[in-house]
């Protein structure tokens, strides 16, 4: 019997971690206990920036990361982090299919094998006040946590302000920042209602987690074990895309139940946002080069 280590960035309460735990149990069942996956949740073994390296260098056999966090390494990783490129789950799935071949190739160059990708609920626009047009965002301090969100803030006329995830509640409570683009799930995690009033369900994009395995470790498995692992991964992918939708509904509802005003963006606002999105997509394709063009072209054909 073999035991593999799998570092995860998110804590046990997170729906991704819950699903990955089921995946680990499935692997154990399907292999009759010949392959056990030891899950280290909540960045207890490696933190997010180190997880890919850890799996590549055989410090762990499996790992899960937020793909777009690696966008600086290669723009392909942040395709799903570009706002308004793919709005909603159906488009997110299409984008994933378009992105997948390139993604697999890039990961393979590092000796990693992509098992599956798991989407976050759509990113919604959180704000202190209602927004009629984007002009209302002018000068608003907007939380930027990567290049894409900083650029979005700039295009909106807002002031990009960097705040680490852990400091979000305090930064909002004291007015250091007053607006952000994030998923309802994260909104619930940070208890957004304690410091924000309005959320627009823009579903601007669905960033994905990627679950991958060290190719050498995978090749070292007997064929039946390899098949079992892939089967469990396929099931896990199906499960998490559904679970993510359920999570999206539940967390948006929770935001409302806790007193936040949950609004759909007006058509004109959505159109304004979409226009910004188009600019960002154009800029991203320029940055991502041939790979970017391949992804966007095949996405648009679907």
């Amino acid at each position: 019997a073999q035991t593999w280590d799998m570092p995860l960035p998110y804590p046990d309460t997170n729906f991704h971690t819950k699903n990955t735990r089921i995946f680990a149990e499935d692997v154990k069942k399907l292999t009759d206990g010949k392959l056990t996956i030891n899950i280290h949740s909540g960045a207890s073994l490696f933190k997010m920036p180190e997880i890919k390296r850890a799996v590549r260098t055989s410090q762990a056999q499996l790992g899960e990361i937020l793909l777009s966090a690696y966008g600086n390494e290669n723009p392909v990783f942040e395709a799903d982090g570009i706002p308004f490129l793919a709005v909603g789950y159906d488009n997110a799935w299409k984008l994933y299919q378009a992105q997948k071949p390139v993604l697999e190739k890039l990961l393979a160059e590092e000796g990693l094998k992509l098992l599956y990708a798991a989407p976050w609920p759509g990113q919604d626009l959180f704000n202190q006040t209602e927004i009629k047009t984007l002009a209302d965002m002018k000068g608003v301090k907007f939380r930027a946590y990567n290049a894409a969100t900083a650029r979005l803030a700039e295009l909106m006329g807002a002031v990009p302000t960097t705040v680490q995830y852990a400091e979000v509640p305090q930064a909002f409570s004291t007015g250091l920042v007053s607006s952000m683009l994030t998923s309802a799930a994260t909104g619930v995690d940070v208890k957004a209602w304690e410091f924000l009033k309005v959320v627009y369900t823009t579903s601007a994009m669905h960033p994905k987690n990627a679950v991958f395995v060290n190719q050498k470790a995978f090749d070292g498995l007997a064929k039946p074990l390899q098949d079992a692992l892939l089967k469990a991964a396929a099931e896990s992918e199906k499960r998490i895309w559904e679970a993510s939708k359920v999570e999206a509904k539940a967390t948006v509802k929770a935001l409302g139940d806790n007193g936040m005003k949950v609004l759909a963006p007006s058509d004109s606002l959505q159109a304004e946002l979409q226009k910004l999105g188009d600019t960002m997509v154009k800029e991203w394709v320029e940055k991502a080069g041939a790979n970017g063009k391949t992804i966007v072209d095949s996405y648009k054909k679907m």
Binding site: F46, Q59, Y165, E194
Partner: protein, 435 residues
């Protein structure tokens, strides 16, 4: 119980390294390497490099050297002396007199700094020379500093609360609010102990040297104004929304530099000395933190904490007994790992158990902070012990012995918040009951 043998072996080895006079940080690294090489299939060398890099290049950690630098600047101004002159007249009637400066100073500084080591170091730098010159009992000076320094974790802002809040998905703002009363209570317990000790051993407190009228006292308090301004600047920067809790440390450094410039004690020499002193101290602490982070990763590979926690879960204890068991578990773990590692490593395993027992996660956060505070002053790996060894040159067991009463008072505090959970939960409940 294969893992029991493993853990005993690792502990014995660590104790042997430490007792042999091997540097603490290097001992932690060596044991981590040994643990991974012997009890897991992972490549130890590269895991060490990766982990140490990941834990050292940390934004949250940047507050630590800055607060230490701020302390070094203050130490080189007349500010620390002024703080004593301002406080002394008010404390002279209290049994224990100026020893209370340690507790009060740490309590106030805790409201500025999020770390226990920085609190103990800053206040210690200012108070140790003054108190020992006046002839106060050395053991109590050291013990009260080690104990009160840990208030840096309980009184907001607090690094450990941020770590717990992120891991347990509990509101960090709520945790901060919840820490206020327990922090004040613990400070009260410490002061009570010092007063009681002074009453029992009256001849071991130096005589009062000040006789002042109330107005004279108020007048002499003007010397506290610079310190109060500095504290207001740091706390204000957080609550006014100018800075995050981490960034506030930079405001503290700027404020301290301006103050020492205004007071005329800032020279190129003193600036350089303060900066180099801070560099040495924070290097020492950061290197041990890196070693501790690596050791905790090694523990993660071997699965020891998980096994221990599973074992506790299988006992199927009642909530109170569960808390007793967990307290013992945390105290043992806290002897060998640093607080942040303890939280990161165990929260994932223990929270489900705690939730199943019907324990409120906000309350549990404060409980965890308290037990982590204990770990700061338990040998062999206790950060306040290291800080005080660095400050005083006394050996670590002597310091731990001096801090023992304060450790026991923390146990009392844990008992009190368990019996009266409202100490923790009342204030945050008030804060959320707004329309």
């Amino acid at each position: 119980m294969d893992q029991l043998v493993q853990s005993i072996l690792l502990i014995v080895l660590l104790l042997a390294f430490l007792a042999g006079g091997f540097w603490v940080a290097l001992s932690l690294l060596a044991i981590g390497l040994f643990g991974i090489a012997m009890f897991s299939g992972a490549p130890p060398g590269i895991v060490m490099a990766t982990t140490v890099w990941g834990s050292s290049a940390s934004w949250t950690l940047t507050a630590l050297p800055l607060f230490i630098w701020m302390g070094e600047i203050l130490f080189r101004t007349k500010l620390s002396e002024d703080m004593f002159q301002g406080l002394a007249p008010w404390l002279t009637r209290l049994p224990g007199r100026l020893l209370h400066v340690n507790v009060l100073g740490c309590t106030v500084f805790a409201a500025v700094s999020g770390s226990s080591a920085a609190t103990a170091m800053t206040i210690g730098k200012m108070s140790i020379p003054e108190l020992s010159r006046r002839g106060y009992d050395e053991r109590l000076i050291i013990g009260s500093l080690a104990g009160s320094g840990t208030l840096g974790l309980l009184i907001p802002p607090s690094i450990i609360m941020i770590v717990y809040g992120v891991s347990a998905e509990v509101s960090i703002v709520q945790l901060f609010i919840a820490g206020v009363f327990p922090g004040a209570m613990l400070a009260g317990l410490f002061m009570g102990y010092i007063a009681l000790w002074a009453v029992i051993f009256p001849d071991r407190t130096p005589p009062a040297d000040i006789k002042m009228s109330f107005l004279e006292k108020v007048y002499s308090s003007r010397r506290l104004i610079p310190v109060i301004l500095l504290i207001m600047l740091v706390i204000g920067s957080i609550y006014q929304g100018w800075a995050t809790a981490t960034e506030a440390a930079a405001c503290g450094v700027a404020g301290a530099l301006i103050l020492s410039l205004v007071m005329g004690s800032l020279t190129w020499r003193s600036f350089l000395d303060s900066l180099l002193g801070a560099t040495r101290s924070s290097c020492m602490i950061a290197f041990i933190l890196a070693g501790a982070a690596f050791l905790s990763v090694a523990m993660g590979y071997t699965g020891l904490p998980r096994t221990l926690a599973e074992w506790i879960r299988e006992l199927q204890l009642s909530p109170y007994m569960l808390l007793v068991a967990l307290t013992l578990f945390f105290i043992v773990l806290g002897c060998f790992l640093d607080g942040i590692s303890v939280v990161v490593l165990t929260v994932a395993i223990i929270l489900p158990m705690v939730q199943a027992a019907g324990i409120d996660l906000l309350w549990f956060g404060i409980y965890v902070v308290l037990v982590v505070e204990m770990s700061q002053i338990t040998p062999p790996v206790g950060f306040n012990l290291f800080v005080l060894q660095g400050l005083t040159g006394r050996n670590i067991l002597y310091i731990a012995y001096a801090a023992l009463p304060f450790f026991l008072l923390m146990v009392v505090a844990v008992a009190m918040i368990t019996i009266f959970p409202e100490i923790v939960t009342w204030l945050p409940a008030q804060a959320t009951m707004r329309p």
